[in-house]
Subunit: 431 residues, 2 copies
């Protein structure tokens, strides 16, 4: 019975698209994942391994024997092998390398040489090249001799004898033009090229802005070395957006079924850091112990001042980080931005402080406490706005990721200074 | 001199790609933006208007006279006019509609009928259709009679006399196959179709997973009504990721140069909501006024308990929201997820509570205070984990956006319950 059940499952799994199999594997706990992986047909192995997220791939490769791994890997393109190589056992790598042509081996070494988040790290080597002096008819006949065009071929590349890129010929132009025309007459010479050392996020911005499907990658001497396609770019956009969301919460990518130990390693540093900043803020507040012991209600109001300052600063910071990410903040408009944020915050803060003051009056029965509350809240919101604008801008100027570190600094500032302003004003005016 | 300067600027602006002009306009304060817009050559008007973000478009249209607006709009495709129509004055809309063919007018009405975030809202109507009984040679000759293929044409659609979709013919297959073959023999019948009422985010997931460049949209009766391309999908992915980042901070899209009034309207509701939750938490804490007035140091420690609980819960919530967004949480694995999060949090919390307890002991000089601190911190982190898992899951089950509302509820729970647990334990064990 178990056997029959397994056969049904096997048929079901293998009727799916490799991308769907990858998705299912990612959604399963480790044991179930490896059980299903055993059922996947061998000819899907390569595609599934390339589709799954990094943190799942390792657990799949662990269960494969050497022969299966070599079989899955040896028909991959050089750039695909490069993406996988960190997860492969050394003897499999050696075996696979033996099977490559000298050209493929050179491509593999080249692909491995680029950082993961560079254009070189996402480019592939499969593309159609033609000369500029032939007719479109010749190009059409040449294409007809291929089995298939590389995925996402929306244009073919026109190169000279030394592989220098001379132009691009879109399939659209190829199809609508007179076959007797030469490539040179029809090709476009106004196109975007990428450098293999460009950041992949920059390439993604270019693809988004100019609605590209593929773009050529050239070296310093103008020679065509690779191609980036929209499929890779979409992955870059999605990964960057995921990373940003996670880094705001102080984490990295984590398998929701990864071993508990990994979860702890991923989360503990951030919480420890927050413990330090919260401890510092508590220490600042504790310097006002006398004041608080005289007017205990201050203890309950001070966390409101700190919290609203943090929330307000977080709004400003979110806007600024986004504007920085798309390159919309310049040194010319920076001052104007700061001014605008301070004005918006001052006005929102003034309105909010009326509500907060009313609450403080209700809970304390004291008008002076309410007035201190109002002043401290506006003051701390302005602190939040300043930090929210300045810190991401300075970090981005220094070439650092503006998102993650900024939020720690923001909370630190609005907590510590919030307590300091509120309890300081209370000490001056109420004691 | 002013004049000459202006001419140079005009030449510079008009040498740019419309997408770059749109980007520059978005990065400028309103007055500069409208000044530059005046310099843009009339034939770029349509492309730039379509490229700029919604909040910029209105300010550009305001400065155009009626004739220019009609000129810019009348050559747009029906789906493009539909995207713009909310920003156009009614008399311009009437004028433009008069210039449309009956077919275009029907398309315009159709496009306007779909919600903005549906497949119907992003689809276009420009595509190549062929019959299945002709040879590829006939298709090639037909294409050669076109001026150009619609942007992002990677496949053409095979339909019958009633426009029912029978298959897709990729340009790649068209180019590599024998021209004497018929379309029917070469076309693919295994393809993904979209329904115009599908959510655009779902279409985006399909494009990502299957690496598509375009996909056909069909109605209930299987008739081809439109096409979605990767260019629109990339915009959807980017907008969704932007919206998510903003909604976490309680905001909507905001022009960093929008009038201050808009900034206030965008931010005040969220801050007011946070003021209410912080006020409630303060009220809960104030019920323990006697305890705090006996042991004042509790006032400084209680915000640490609340803050770490919130941070820890936020990590859990970020992971769960992401897993929900890609459809990786099912009712089968939900319980396992909750268990895992509780275990990870318990272990991280136990480790962190040693540091927090040490700090409490140092600042208070009292071992019992330190022990209460440790217990409260672990307890509140577990509260954060529970809320971080459960609230997004329940919200998503109820069909609500899991991101925004969840974070308010999380802060509310970890603040109020954090104070309650800490001061409650202190009242029981220390007084």
């Amino acid at each position: 019975l178990q056997r029959q059940h397994e056969n049904e499952l096997r048929a079901l799994v293998n009727s799916l698209h490799p991308a769907d199999i990858a998705f299912i594997l990612e959604s399963l706990p480790k044991e179930d994942r490896q059980m299903i992986w055993q059922l996947v047909r061998a000819e899907f192995d390569a595609d599934v391994l390339l589709e799954v997220a990094d943190w799942v791939r390792q657990s799949l490769i662990e269960t494969m024997d050497r022969a299966d791994l070599v079989a899955a890997t040896e028909n991959m393109d050089a750039d695909e092998i490069a993406d996988l190589i960190a997860n492969l056992p050394p003897d499999v790598v050696a075996e696979v390398q033996k099977g490559l042509t000298p050209k493929e081996r050179a491509q593999l070494i080249e692909a491995m040489g680029y950082p993961e988040d560079s254009v070189g790290g996402i480019m592939d080597f499969e593309m159609v090249r033609v000369r500029d002096d032939v007719s479109l008819e010749v190009v059409l006949r040449y294409l007809r001799r291929q089995e298939a065009l590389p995925d996402h071929t929306d244009q073919i590349f026109v190169v000279d004898r030394t592989d220098k890129l001379l132009g691009t010929l879109s399939l659209s132009a190829l199809l609508v033009s007179d076959p007797d025309a030469t490539v040179r007459d029809v090709m476009s010479t106004d196109y975007l090229t990428l450098d293999p050392m460009d950041a992949d996020a920059e390439a993604a911005q270019a693809f988004e802005r100019y609605d590209l499907v593929s773009a050529p990658v050239i070296d310093r001497r103008g020679r065509l070395i690779g191609r980036v396609t929209i499929a890779d770019v979409v992955d870059v956009i999605r990964e960057d957006s995921d990373e940003q969301a996670l880094s705001r919460a102080g984490m990295q990518e984590e398998d929701i079924f990864a071993p508990v130990v990994r979860g702890i390693r991923n989360r503990a540093p951030w919480l420890l850091l927050n413990l330090c900043t919260a401890g510092t803020a508590a220490f600042v507040a504790s310097r006002f112990e006398d004041t608080v012991s005289h007017i205990v209600v201050l203890a309950f109001l001070m966390s409101i001042v700190a919290g609203i300052g943090g929330n307000s600063g977080n709004q400003t910071m979110t806007l600024i980080i986004r504007a920085l990410a798309v390159g919309r903040v310049t040194s010319q408009n920076a001052w104007q931005l700061i001014k605008r944020e301070l004005v918006v915050t001052l006005l929102v803060g003034t309105m909010g402080s009326v509500a907060a003051g009313g609450f403080a009056w209700w809970i304390s029965g004291s008008v002076p406490v309410a007035l201190v509350m109002m002043a401290a809240m506006i003051g701390n919101m302005l602190v939040g706005a300043m930090v929210g604008v300045m810190v991401p801008m300075v970090r981005s100027r220094l070439g650092k990721d503006p998102a993650m570190g900024s939020s720690v600094l923001l909370t630190f500032a609005t907590d510590s200074l919030g307590f300091f302003i509120f309890l300081g004003l209370a000490t001056i005016f109420l004691i």
